[in-house]
Symmetry: C2
Subunit: 212 residues, 2 copies
DNA sequence: TTGCATCCTGACCGTATGGTCAGCTTTCAG
DNA sequence: CTGAAAGCTGACCATACGGTCAGGATGCAA
C-alpha cells in the first residue's frame, strides 16, 4: 500500500473515498441485499465513519443507485466483443469469455445486478426500457442476419441471448452453490477454463454455428 | 372464495393460516429479500394481524426457513423425471420441462431460492452439503453412463447441470427483465412453449444426444 | 354445560437503523 | 498569511422493526 502520511490532494481524497465506499457497498449489498445492508457495515468495511458516507452519498438509495449503475456499465461493455465479430463462432465465443470473466472478477456486482432485477428493477427500470432494450434489439438483429446468411441454425435470437446471460451469470450468482458442490473450494483456473469451453462447445454446437 | 362464515375445525384453521402465511411470505421475501421483508407486510398480505404470525412462526428466521425448505423440496422433486429416463433425450427434455414449469408456476419460490444461495445459503448450507450434493452426484453418474454408452458427447456433467439450472431458472429469477424486453407483457403460452423448445433443442443438439 | 386447550390480537417495548448537524480540521487560491 | 471552501465526525434523533404479553374469543372433548 502506498498509503504513507503524505498529504492528499482534494481531488484524490474525493476519488479514493468514493471508490472505497463503492467497493465496500458493492460487497455488502451483494451479501445482504439492499434491505439487509446497513450503512454502518459499509462504513466499517470502507474504514470510514458512517457520517462520512453520508457526506459523499446523501442516502442509502443514492449509494445503491451508484453501485448498480457502475455494474450496468461493465455489463454492457462486454457487448462490444459481440459486435465486431464476423460470425457466431467468433462473436458468441468472445461474448461468453467476456461475461465469464465478469462473473469471475466481479461476482459481487453480478449479484447486486441479479438482486436488482429480481426485485423488479426499482432503480434500473428506465435503463432496462431504453439502453438494455436497444442493446438487445441490436444483437437480435445481428443474430438474425447470421441465421439468414446460413451461419447458424434458425434459433430464436432472444432465447439464445437469455441462455447466454443465464449460463454465464450463473457462475457468479450461484457461485456459492457451485463452490459447495466443488467440495467447498472455489473453482481453479483449470475449472474456469473447462467451464468456458463446455459452455461454448454446447451452445455453438447447439445452434449449428458455422465458422465464418 | 369458499370463505363463508361457517365455523372451522381447529385443524383446518391451522392448516389454512399457515398456508396463507407461507404464501404471503414467499411473495414478500421474493420481492424484498430477507432483509427488506417485514413481518407487517407479510401479515397484511396474508390478511392477519402481525401478532398472529408470531403465533404460528416464532421468528422471522423460522418463517423464512419454512419458505425456503418448501421450495427446496419442489425443486428436488423435479428431479424424478430425470431418473426414470432411458437416455439423455428423454431425461433432459423432461427435466427442462419440469424446471420451466416450476419457473412459470413458482417464480417467487425460485427467487427466494436464488436469493438464499446468492447470500451464501445461511439457512440451507446443510441441505446443500448433504441432499443437494447427493442428488447432484447421482445425476452426474447417470450422465457419465450416458456418455460411456455413446448416447451423448463427452460433456462435463457438472457444467451441463449448471447450464440446465441456470437456463431454466433464469425465466423465473430474471422474469422481470424478460417481461420488460417483451414489451412489458409476461410471456404468452406460445412464448413459453418456444422458450422450452429452444432450450431443449440447443442443449440436446449441443451435447450430441442420441435418441435411446 | 363445563373446563380446558387452542387461537387470536391490541398495545407495548427495546433496539437498530437511516439520517442530521454543529463544529472541528485540512487544503488551497489569492 | 489568511479566509473561505471542502472534508470530516461524534453525538444525537425519529422512526420502524422484530418480538412479547396479558387477556379475550372460540372450538371441542367429556
Amino acid at each position: 500500500m502506498a498509503e504513507t502520511t503524505r498529504p492528499m490532494r482534494r481531488q484524490d481524497i474525493r476519488r479514493e473515498n468514493e471508490k472505497a465506499i463503492l467497493l465496500a457497498a458493492e460487497k455488502v449489498f451483494a451479501e445482504a441485499g439492499f434491505g439487509g445492508a446497513t450503512m454502518q457495515l459499509i462504513a466499517d468495511l470502507a474504514g470510514l465513519p458512517k457520517a462520512n458516507l453520508h457526506y459523499y452519498f446523501a442516502t442509502k438509495e443514492e449509494l445503491y443507485r451508484s453501485v448498480v449503475q457502475n455494474i450496468f456499465e461493465i455489463w454492457l461493455q462486454a457487448a462490444n466483443c459481440f459486435d465486431a465479430a464476423r460470425g457466431p463462432v467468433d462473436g458468441i465465443s468472445a461474448y461468453i469469455d467476456a461475461k465469464m470473466e465478469i462473473s469471475r472478477r466481479h461476482p459481487d456486482g453480478s449479484k447486486v445486478w441479479a438482486s436488482e432485477v429480481m426485485h423488479g428493477a426499482p432503480v434500473l427500470q428506465d435503463y432496462m426500457e431504453s439502453t438494455l432494450r436497444e442493446w438487445t434489439d441490436g444483437r437480435v438483429e445481428i443474430i438474425r442476419r447470421w441465421i439468414e446468411e446460413g451461419k447458424m441454425d434458425p434459433v430464436d435470437p432472444r432465447h439464445l441471448l437469455y441462455m447466454l446471460w443465464a449460463t454465464t451469470q450463473h457462475y457468479a450468482d450461484f457461485g456459492h452453490q457451485i463452490e459447495t458442490l466443488n467440495g467447498g473450494k472455489s473453482l481453479s483456473d483449470r475449472q474456469w477454463r473447462e467451464a468456458k469451453e463446455n459452455i461454448k462447445r454446447v451452445i455453438l454446437t447447439g445452434i449449428g454455428a458455422q465458422p465464418a
